[in-house]
Amino acid sequence: MIKIEQLSKVFKTANQTVQAVDQMNLSINKGEIFGVIGYSGAGKSTFIRLINRLEEPSTGKVIIEDQEITRLNKKDLRLSRQEIGMIFQHFNLLWSRTVRENIAFPLEIAGVSKAERNARVSELIDLVGLTGKENAYPAQLSGGQKQRVGIARALANNPKVLLCDEATSALDPETTDSILALLVDINEKLGLTIILITHEMHVIQKICRNVAVMEDGRIVEQGSVLNVFSHPKQPVTKKFVEQVMGKPEDEETEELFIQHSNSGQVLKLQFIGETTHQAIISQVAKKFDVELNILQGSVKQTQAGAYGSLYLLAIGEPETINQALAFIRETSVEVEVIQHG
């Protein structure tokens, strides 16, 4: 459990002061993947660096599992940093060290014996899928492989928390997905809490359960990913949701569906956290004598199930269609019939 209370950071430079983080309050559950999203300059990096005090807070508290990080002296802070892993956008590996030696570095810092270090490093190399690259230097690795080294290194001392600052922003989409999958995998296997900073909504959508949206150093909206996706309130949040869902269908598109569908009824299905939606359409088609035609839709998988909407054209007896509607309503999928405006 991580608690952030009234956390602020003010940067004073010669000719201006910047309130990079402004009285943030947050509580993050143990073992979850928590996302923080915001545009450039929102204060995300500053926030995550305040958690392990790479940046000293101006005011406020950071509490990790009953330990008040913000009150520790230098020595204790060093010790607790060994239990807080961190990965970076630009990996920050030591180029003079091989993959093995890079992963061993935090273990050296923690004073782990050489034999134990070797065993642990081999374990980690296996965990992050870098077998065969042990003795390569960072310069000989791809971005994705470098980030795997970064992750292995961050996990070396069995941290309770993993901080990720734009961990996938320097990677191509495919590599991003593989790194995200790795993060989910270690989150499940090791049960550690992950705090993830990003400016890409699809990263949040893919792996986070809860999300906070940052703007101008403040959290403007927060909640479960599904909730934020289905009912975005702030303009920034709406923009981020559009990043992955596209613009919501407007009245005009719906009107268009109806014009081209004089033979049946247009249904709009809404999935919010539905986990069995794939079955529902085939079930309806099997159980009832209706023909289903997919008109348009966009459904995204989130950690809490699918989210999105689907437009169907249902052709059949009105009676049968009503029965089908009743059947669908029994599930968690919401359905409405789109009428002539």
């Binding site: 060994q82 961190m86 630009h90 810092i109 310069a139």
Partner: protein, 221 residues
């Protein structure tokens, strides 16, 4: 050979080369030590550094700048009372060492500082995030990551030092400069000056060659 260099005493020449080599190596060792210290001090005490400190930074930077501003010939002359006090004489190879080290350490110190500045800040940050002590960061991150640049810098410094030893020769430090000046130039036996020049050039090539090999070996970027 004997026709080309009628006045060269080969034994003396070899001995002089040995002396130059000796002075260069010992002075280089001292320069390395003091230069690294100066470079670290400059880097760590700079604004935003691990030991940010205006005063230490100002004092170190001033010392470095002052000693780099003094031409080497003048520096030797200035140091004569000091070497006299230390060694009882200002002649000889050992008496030349303080001047050689004081002349080249500030120069190398600046090169060390530049090498350290080249290190990606993110790597230092990563080490901090892992809970590293400052001493760990200095030895395992700063000096290790900048090693190729430190070696290239040392090579450049070594070559400057060979030049300095020749200048020191003129006030009787021994070595090829001494031999060239007192036996060659002073007696108008220019073949000796020429032979010494050739050997100094060879020595420079040798240092450059070895330095390049080591720097390349270390550079894994």
């Amino acid at each position: 050979m004997a026709n080309l260099f009628p006045n060269v005493d080969w034994f003396d020449l070899i001995e002089a080369t040995g002396e130059t080599f000796y002075m260069t190596i010992i002075a280089l060792a001292g320069t390395l030590l003091i230069g690294i210290l100066l470079g670290l001090l400059l880097y760590l005490s700079a604004p935003g550094g691990l030991w940010e400190n205006k005063y230490i930074n100002f004092i170190t930077a001033s010392l470095v700048n002052i000693f780099r501003a003094i031409p080497f010939v003048v520096l030797i002359l200035l140091l004569i009372p000091f070497t006299n006090f230390l060694f009882g004489t200002f002649r000889g190879q050992d008496a030349a060492l303080p001047a050689l080290i004081i002349g080249s350490a500030p120069f190398y110190g600046r090169l060390v500082e530049i090498a350290l500045r080249e290190i990606d800040k993110g790597v230092i940050e990563a080490a901090k995030a892992m809970g590293a002590k400052t001493s760990t960061i200095i030895f395992k991150v700063l000096l290790k990551e900048s090693l190729p640049a430190l070696v290239s810098g040392l090579t450049v410094t070594a070559i400057a030092l060979i030049g300095y030893t020749a200048v020191a020769g003129v006030i009787g430090a021994g070595g090829l400069g001494d031999y060239a000046y007192f036996y060659g130039f002073a007696r108008r036996d220019f073949d000796i000056v020429f032979a010494c020049t050739v050997l100094i050039v060879l020595l420079v090539f040798l240092f450059q060659f070895i330095g390049d090999i080591i720097a390349n070996k270390l550079d894994k970027r």
